[in-house]
Each structure stands twice: as C-alpha cells, then as structure tokens.
Amino acid sequence: MMSKWALYWKHNQQKWMPFVFLAPATLFFLVLIVYPIVESLRLSFFKWDGLGEKNWVGGGNYVELLSDHRFWLSVRNTFYWTVFFLIAPVVGLLLAIFLNQKIRGIRFVKSMFFFPFVISQVVVGLVFAWFYEPHNGLLNEVLKFLGMSPIAILSNENWVTFGIIAAGMWPQVAYCLIIYLTGLSGLSPTLIEAARLDRAKGWKMLWYIIIPQLRSATFVAVVISVIGALRSFDLISIMTGGGPYDSSSVLAYFMYDQTMFSYRMGYGAAIASVLFVLMDIYIVYFLIRLWRGERGTSDRSILGN
C-alpha cells in the first residue's frame, strides 16, 4: 500500500520535476547574479566608503559622473574599443576564407591561428607589453629598421588605447575566425555550384551568395565582439593600469579603480550601472532574436565569454 504522498508523487512528478531540476542553478543565480545586480543599482544612489554608513545621495553620483573628465575619457575609450572590435569579424571572415583550403598541414595551421583565443588575456597583455617595449621591443626594432623614430606606445596618451585595442584584437580575430571557419564548412554546395554556373565570381559571389548564408555566424561574431569590447578590463589592468593619466581607462576599469583604490563604492556602482545599461541594449537585442528563433525555425547561436 502506497502512502498518499507517494501516490501523488507518482502521478504528478512530471509537473514538479522540472522545478526540482531547476532549483539548484536558479538559487545560485539568484544569490550570486540577480541579487548583486539589484544591490549595485541600489548602491549607486548612495555615498559609501565600503565600511561606514551609507548615505543616500539620490542621483548625486550620476550628476558627478557628468562632470568627471575621467568618466568621459572612459566613455570615449569604451567607444573606441567597440568600434575597433567590430573590425574583428571582418578580419576573421577574410582569414577564414583565406584558410578554407584542404592543403597538407592546414589543420595544424588553423589550430595555430586559434591559439591566441585559448591563452589568458594576462599572457596576451604581457606578450604585447614586451612587443611594445620602448627600448628593444619588436615593434620599435621594426620601426628602427624602417628608419622611423621609435615610440613608447604604452606611455603615450594618444597611442596607448589603440595599442591595447590592437592586443585585444589578436584573440578576438581568432575567435571570429573559428566561428567563420565553421560557418564556411556549412555552406550549401548546390547554391555555390548554381552561382558558379551563372558565372558568379570573386566579390560578387562573396557578397550575394556566401555572406547571406553566413548570417548566424556574423550575428554571433558581432555580438561577441561588442560584448568583448565592453568587457575589456584584463589587458588594460595588465598593460597600463589605466594610465598614463587615465588615458587608457575604460568604463570597466574606471569602475574597478574607483571601487578598489578610492573606496568609492556608490560612485563605482554608478559607473557599473551605466556600463550595465549599455550592455543591456545588446542583451535585449540578442534575447529578442532568440525568442523569435524559438518560435519559428530553430535559430541558435552560442556565445562564450
């Protein structure tokens, strides 16, 4: 004889099991992701040094941001990162087309091209810091060889951000390359053959036949690059620490700097909130697309971080 509960469970477990399966992940997520977001947004309306009392200042932190030149410097640099990172999908696609051949050893060549994506940004940062080293770095050796005067990229206010972005492009292009190589291997051969019979060639073929078929790859590559740009932190922290004179800071780094070194939690939270809202534009765009895909044909894309 089964107890009442056991009987209920036997007949209703299909209704309850999904929540049992979801519970651990959801609980974790609520505590370590959702709650912190809400709390950060709330903190952005307070003045707080992290230890003492929290004082309500309303929109005070945001008003202060508007007149803080370091904030605008960070906004400008974040904008540069985003714009330049959008070149990564283009370069990735061109490289993918270049490497999409079946010659001997191409597998090895491709994996070497993926390489920068696998290694830590800390290592990438050190590698490029060495590369830019003002006295004997490879870049300056090349400049000297070409008869130009050497420049100390990382201590030059005008060049520093672009120098770091260039370092960031290296793994980012590798990532886009991986995505496009997979995209190219999934092209429809019949469509290409048909286009060839119609004498489509070169750029026309690429523009009208190939790129339209790579739509989801492009979508993923673009979203990943924008998110990667908005998240840029590691390279800046390793290569310059935001300097010289904050000239290489971005929103993500500026927030960290204000919070960890100036103990301005409320102000830091306000910077984080600005970055968060900026990022939400892309998150919502992605979710809407996913939502449409779920209802129509299954159109999925995977994103790393």
């Binding site: 979801l22 992940a25 997520f29 696998v118 830590s120 998240r231 932190f233």
Partner: protein, 283 residues
C-alpha cells in the same frame, strides 16, 4: 566549397598560396615566438639588448627552474587547478539538470528563466563586484578557494545552461515517452537515459569552461589576496611587479601559465571547436 579548391588552380598559384599561408602564420605567431625566444635567454642578453638575435647562452633550464624555485608559481598553478576543477564539475552538474528541465518540460515561465540565465552570462563583471565581494566577506569565504569556486560555478552556469538546453532539445522525445509508458520515474530517466547521451556535450562544454575559469583574472584579483589562494593569472601579474626588467623570467612564467589551457585545446580540439560554434551553422 568556397573559395574554389586550390587544387583546381594553376601550379604557380598553388605554390604562392602555400608560401603566403606560411608567411601569414609566422606573422600571426610573431608575438608568441618573441616571448618563447625571450624565455630561453639569459639576463645578460636582455640587459645588453640582444633581444632578437640568437641567445648567447641558452638558459632554458636556468630560467624555467628559476621561476619555480624563486617564485611561488608552482603554488599559483596548483591554486588554479584547485579552483578550476570543482568549478567545472559544479557548473556542469547544475547546468545539465537545469538544461534538461528547460529543454524537455513545458511550464509557465520556461523562456523567462532561460532568458535570465543567458542574460546573466553577458553582464559586465563590474555590476557584480561590490555585492559579491561583500557577500564573500560576510560569509567568511573571502580570500579562500571557496569564494572563487562558488562564484565561477555560478557564473559559468549561465553559459552552460544555454549550451546544454540546446543540445538536449535536439534529443528525440520518444526515448523519454517510451520510458514513461514503462513507468520509469523522471529522475531515473534523467540519470540513466539522458546523461549517457550527453557525453560529447559534456566533454565540449567541460573544455570550454576549464579555459574560461583558468584564464579568469578579474575575480582572481578581487576575491582573494594571499599567495596561498591566488590563481596563476593574478600570480603572474604580481610576479611582474617583482621581476620588473627580468623579461626572460616574465616570459617563462607566461608560457607556463598559458600551457594548461593550450594542452587542453590541442588534446580536445574537436570538442573545443564544436562547443564554441554549436549552432552557428544553423538558421
């Protein structure tokens, strides 16, 4: 195939293509080659400015031995492993269960919960920094392995659920239906029918998460302080402060820090790429 297979081209074209590939490869790897070369030089080479010629005396063993004996790099590597392995296992377990629920059951709020996990995967770390740090301090896990393990487990779960849910959704419903008809409980269906089918997905996801967690720098910087818990990324950046001009040691340290994910990548390349690009060819 696009572009046109190179074999169908004239021989000079084929040859120049191969030359170009090699050239592009060398150019692409130049920063890395430079650091590899530097890691086997003696300090004398560095101070006298012999950066790019052949090393005057080869210090392969000296340098790599030096970083292990003169610094805590061995400790940092071990710390990274202690953090990474449980975090990978934890997020795989959480994501497999949640992904299964989201893929195979219909209930209200299904898409909403799914969307929450995906959105969580994209947010900037900075929006979490202050509260997560406070939580860690308040629960006494700040500056311990637990702080990093718990946070990474949770954060990687967002991405993993996205991955798992899509993979499980592609499994045919019939296997579950017929088991249900036979009176098999839902938990047993999950453990004995679903999980064995997930092996390729678990492998692919595991390699990816390993790389992501191993390479994390931000949380390593803000959740732990002591060398006893510091992972290799944060450790390497603190060593840089000590070694200032000893670029040969910094270079050797960089190589050592990069090695584990690189080995993982080469051993499991197929799974790695399959994981990274799942679904980009559809739609």
């Amino acid at each position: 195939m696009f572009p046109r297979p190179i074999e169908k081209r004239a021989v000079p074209f084929q040859v120049s293509y191969r030359v170009l590939v090699v050239l592009a490869l060398v150019l692409w790897m130049l920063p890395l080659l430079a650091i590899a070369m530097t890691s086997i030089r003696s300090l004398e080479d560095i101070t006298t400015g012999n950066y790019w010629g052949l090393p005057r005396d080869w210090s392969v063993i000296d340098n790599y031995l030096a970083i292990f004996t003169a610094s805590k790099i061995g400790r940092y590597l071990l710390n990274s492993l202690i953090v990474t392995i449980p975090a990978v296992a934890g997020s795989l377990a959480l994501a497999t269960m949640a992904g299964f629920a989201l893929a195979k059951y219909r209930f209200r709020g299904n898409f909403f919960i799914f969307a929450m996990f995906i959105a969580g995967n994209f947010i900037p770390y900075q929006i979490l920094l202050i509260p997560v740090r406070d939580l860690a301090i308040g629960t006494n896990v700040y500056n311990t392995f637990w702080a990093l393990i718990l946070f990474h487990t949770c954060f990687q779960t967002g991405f993993s659920i996205f991955f798992m849910r899509n993979f499980i959704a592609d499994l045919p419903d019939e296997i579950m239906e017929s088991a249900r008809v036979d009176g098999v409980g839902e938990w047993k269906i999950f453990v004995y029918l679903i999980i064995p089918l997930l092996r390729p997905a678990l492998a692919a996801l595991g390699v990816l998460i390993f790389t992501f967690v191993w390479n994390d720098y931000f949380w390593a910087l803000v959740l732990v302080q002591d060398d006893a818990y510091r992972p290799i990324t944060a450790g390497l950046s603190s060593l840089r402060g000590q070694w200032i001009a000893s670029w040969n040691l910094i270079a050797a340290g960089s190589i050592v820090a990069a090695l584990p994910p690189v080995i993982m990548f080469f051993v499991m390349q197929k799974q790695f790429i399959a994981g990274l690009t799942m679904g980009t060819t559809k739609g």
